[in-house]
């Protein structure tokens, strides 16, 4: 995609789901929504949500666990269907976000252009939520940030044909709709609910982790950024909303750090591990959490705290780039 195609894609991916939601509301109003539509919505929401959370985020961006090739392809394809960008680009932006979180260079910080007052705050939140996607000049240099993903042919294939996966994310629920109801109208409403409406809700939840998750909520760890734990977003974000925990221990396969911090993605990874389908699952025990908590407390925390950014993966020593020695 060149700059213009990128912009068109972003604009369509912002507007079409919004129109889809409007159409769905009209249908709801006229009681033209069947149980099949809601089931399809739920199925697609889970596929796309796990694709982004378990696949793009924990498996690819942070290498929190390893899995088999078919599952790696499945999770990545599911993540691509969510429509948040090709895996290579998503991972590059995300790794850069961690490197300089809430500091200059962060692709999506609500503090990127700090202006005073409520208007400034809302502007920052909008930028972190969706505004940053419209920045034509933004590029996170995938060669520097994710040579590991680029070396994987499957990941390159999915990245290159990303738009087809997004399209499949709308066609597939349409096919399901037809299978469930046997009517073309059922196919249409299936595509609407499982495609566009799902696209809208699933992606705004992810965007909310980037905006709200750096603004409102509790901070357990005084990390050198503004990340927060947002309990009410945890369930529907598949655990992603324990965002302060995540910035504290980015490689941890579980973002929930207590038994009561529900993290569906971590449960899925744990389940796969029991089945022997996930290995090298990275866990941070309580003792290590406490140690780091004390260390950060001393530095003060927050976006003005001193932090030494990690080098991008391409610039790290070979052993660190391929192994799992770099636990954070």
């Amino acid at each position: 995609m060149d700059g213009r195609e990128h912009y068109t894609f972003i604009l369509l991916s912002a507007l079409l789901p919004l129109f889809g939601v409007a159409a769905a509301v009209v249908l709801l109003w006229n009681q033209l929504v069947g149980p099949a539509d809601l089931v399809i919505f739920a199925i697609m929401y889970v596929i796309a949500g796990l694709g982004v959370s378990t696949g793009y985020h924990r498996l690819l961006a942070h290498r929190s666990f390893r899995t088999t090739r078919p599952l790696r392809i499945f999770f990545t394809a599911a993540g691509a269907m969510a429509g948040q960008g090709p895996p290579v680009i998503w991972v590059a932006h995300h790794r850069r976000h961690h490197r300089v979180a809430d500091k200059p260079g962060d692709p999506h910080s609500p503090y990127h252009d700090e202006e005073p007052g409520l208007k400034g705050a809302l502007k920052g939140l909008w930028h972190a939520h969706m505004g940053w996607l419209f920045d034509r000049g933004l590029s996170s240099d995938p060669m520097r940030y994710c040579p590991d993903i680029l070396r994987d042919k499957d990941m390159r294939f999915i990245s290159k044909h990303f738009v087809w996966f997004v399209t499949a994310g709308v066609v597939l629920p349409g096919v399901l709709g037809f299978a469930f109801t046997g009517t073309l109208f059922g196919a249409f409403t299936g595509a609407l609910w499982g495609g566009l409406v799902r696209f809208f809700f699933a992606n705004h939840i992810t965007y909310a982790v980037n905006s709200i998750g750096h603004y409102f909520g509790r901070r357990r760890f005084a990390t050198p950024d503004e990340s927060r734990n947002v309990g009410w977003l945890a369930l529907f974000s598949f655990g992603e909303a324990w965002h302060n925990n995540h910035h504290a221990f980015p490689r941890s396969a579980s973002h929930g750090m207590r038994w009561y911090e529900i993290d569906i993605s971590a449960m899925v990874i744990g389940g796969l591990e029991k089945l022997g389908l996930a290995t090298n699952v990275i866990r941070i025990d309580r003792e290590r959490q406490e140690q780091k908590a004390v260390a950060w407390e001393k530095l003060g925390g927050g976006r003005h705290a001193r932090a030494t950014p990690d080098k991008p993966l391409a610039h790290r020593p070979r052993a660190a780039a391929v192994g799992i020695v770099d636990v954070e």
Binding site: M1, D2, P86, V88, I89, A92, S139, S140, D141, P142, M143, R144, P147, L150, R151, K153, R156, S159, K160, L313, A314, H315, A321
Partner: protein, 81 residues
């Protein structure tokens, strides 16, 4: 040993006919003047790796700015290997 022709074939394949007509492909051509996205540049670099069974130092690959840089990088690794 690969040549500029190998590289330009790879670029044409990647661009699928969208290469600007007036662009001259030689060793001094800069990657960014071809209108390639970051994804396309990476695709070219890592296809080179695959086709020749080598691994570049990713930091050096990311620093390559011209086609000449990319050729030199590839041939250097090929000679060692």
């Amino acid at each position: 040993m690969i040549t500029i022709e190998t590289l330009s074939d790879l670029i044409r394949r990647e661009m699928r006919g969208k290469l600007p007509a007036d662009v001259q492909i030689d060793e001094t051509t800069r990657l960014d003047e071809l209108g390639l996205s970051s994804l396309q540049v990476s695709e070219i670099v890592f296809t080179l790796e695959d086709e020749h069974g080598v691994e570049f130092d990713p930091a050096k690959a990311a620093d390559a700015q011209t086609l000449g840089d990319l050729l030199a990088l590839t041939n250097e690794v090929l000679e060692v290997g």
